[in-house]
Amino acid sequence: MQVNEFKPLIVAFCCNWCSYAGADLAGNNRLSYPADVKIIRVPCSCRVNPMFVLRAFQRGADGVIICGCHPGDCHYTSGNYYTRRRMTLLFSMLDYLGIEKERTRVEWVSAAEGAKFASTMNDFVSKITQLGKNKRLEDLRCKK
């Protein structure tokens, strides 16, 4: 048995129309993914302000994943296209500042892709577990 096994805290921003429904489907189909993933439902992936991502890290997240409808399928026509540009620049900047690039991810998950949701989360959690605790974007005041 491993002692002090690292359990990462993952924040997943999921859009209401696709990815959140995808997570629901994963549940209905009894597909398992780690309970370390905390889902925050947003009306559209483009609701995710770069500040949300940073704030999640501040409050102790070890990884942040943003899930939305596949490009072209946005409930609001074009929201996820903006998300894509915004997160591209944000992730690139975080990488530039020396924050591990594996800690942030964008995935497109539709309402029909319960299996993809589960496998994406499983994969992301295992990557973050390998990477270890978020040290470079931590706020020591927020440690318990």
């Binding site: 706020d139 005041r141 927020c142 318990k144």
Partner: protein
């Protein structure tokens, strides 16, 4: 008074650092002088004043005051204070020594600020006479003699020797610790240097700046002067001048929600900021002109009003070299003062 040759300075620093944290002015990688915690290899930099004064060693930019935790309808208050370590600051200029006197007036008068007082009790200040003042220096305007820097120990660097003169009991105790590196010296040995500095100060471009027209009782005369509008025109409303100022002492107290409790802390504040001293009814000073006026009136009128004529500026020149738009206290004094 004692003296020792400059080569021994690292040995002296090592000796002091054995019993206390030692801070000395050292060049950072941009070649700017900053107070740096001494460790083996930290080099004392040449004769310039530091980018920012020693203020934050006594009054840090942010400081936790206490913490709160809520559980089962109870709020627990946690005292986060830690006893300060003993520390020594070397190389404090006369202007910065004076600035601590000004901060003392604020923090050590009733009600006494225990956080500041604790650091003050644990800190020994070794001053250093200026050898090469900058063109922006105007400490003599406020009656400060850079050749007599004061504090616990006064130090002069003359040619290849340091002269240390203890001024307080704590200073004498420290001199005893480094006794084996020093030889006795006569006060007359630094007279020449003092003379040289005094002559030098008279040659500075701002040497003739006068405090005429400012000080106690000048509030009504200066407050409504129309020049304030013009003077404040270029001001960006940033806090550079306040944060590099060794005497600016305003702070804000804020709560930070950590997600599992609250930390109450204080941090430097700037009267240049739009939400400075913001209260339930809004803000006292809504325009940039009012905020700009506040800073200079505080230093040149309100502070002396409440402190027997002691001005709230020490003429260190930092705001002059750091202001993004080069608007500073000297320009204000020349515009509004009794003589130009």
């Amino acid at each position: 008074m004692v003296k020792f040759s400059c080569e021994k300075i690292d040995l002296v620093f090592a000796e002091i650092a054995k019993t206390a944290a030692l801070y000395i002015p050292s060049n950072d990688k941009n070649n700017k002088a900053v107070f740096t915690k001494w460790q083996k290899g930290t080099k004392l930099c040449d004769s310039h004043n530091t980018q920012i004064g020693p203020k934050d060693l006594f009054f840090p930019q942010t400081e936790d005051l206490m913490a709160f935790k809520a559980s089962n309808k109870k709020i627990e208050i946690i005292d986060t204070r830690k006893e300060s370590e003993d520390f020594v600051i070397f190389g404090v200029r006369a202007c910065d020594v004076k600035s601590l006197e000004i901060l003392d007036r604020v923090f050590l008068s009733e009600p006494r600020d225990s956080y500041y007082a604790m650091r003050r009790e644990h800190g020994i200040i070794i001053s250093l006479a200026c050898t090469r003042p900058s063109e922006a220096c105007f400490c003599t305007t406020f009656g400060i003699a850079p050749s007599e820097p004061g504090a616990d120990i006064s130090v002069w660097k003359i040619n290849n020797e340091f002269f240390w003169q203890a001024n307080t009991k704590r200073g004498e105790e420290l001199l005893l610790k480094i006794e084996h590196f020093t030889t006795p010296a006569e006060p007359s040995e630094v007279e020449g240097e003092k003379q040289r500095i005094s002559v030098l100060m008279k040659r500075l471009p701002l040497a003739n700046l006068s405090t005429n027209g400012f000080g106690k009782g000048k509030t009504n005369e200066l407050f409504e002067r129309e020049e304030w509008a013009k003077l404040s025109e270029a001001c960006l409303g940033c806090g550079t001048c306040t944060f590099v100022c060794p005497t600016c002492q305003c702070y804000d107290i804020k709560d930070f929600n950590t997600g599992n409790g609250v930390i109450r802390y204080r941090c430097w504040d700037s009267c240049m900021y739009s939400d400075f001293t913001k209260m339930a009814h809004g803000n006292n000073r809504n325009t940039r002109k009012e905020r700009f006026r506040q800073r200079f009136m505080h230093k040149l009128v309100y502070f002396p009003e409440n402190n027997n004529g002691l001005f709230g500026c020490v003429g260190c020149g930092r705001c002059i070299s750091k202001c993004p738009v080069s608007m500073n206290i000297v320009k204000v004094m020349k515009k509004l003062g009794g003589n130009v």
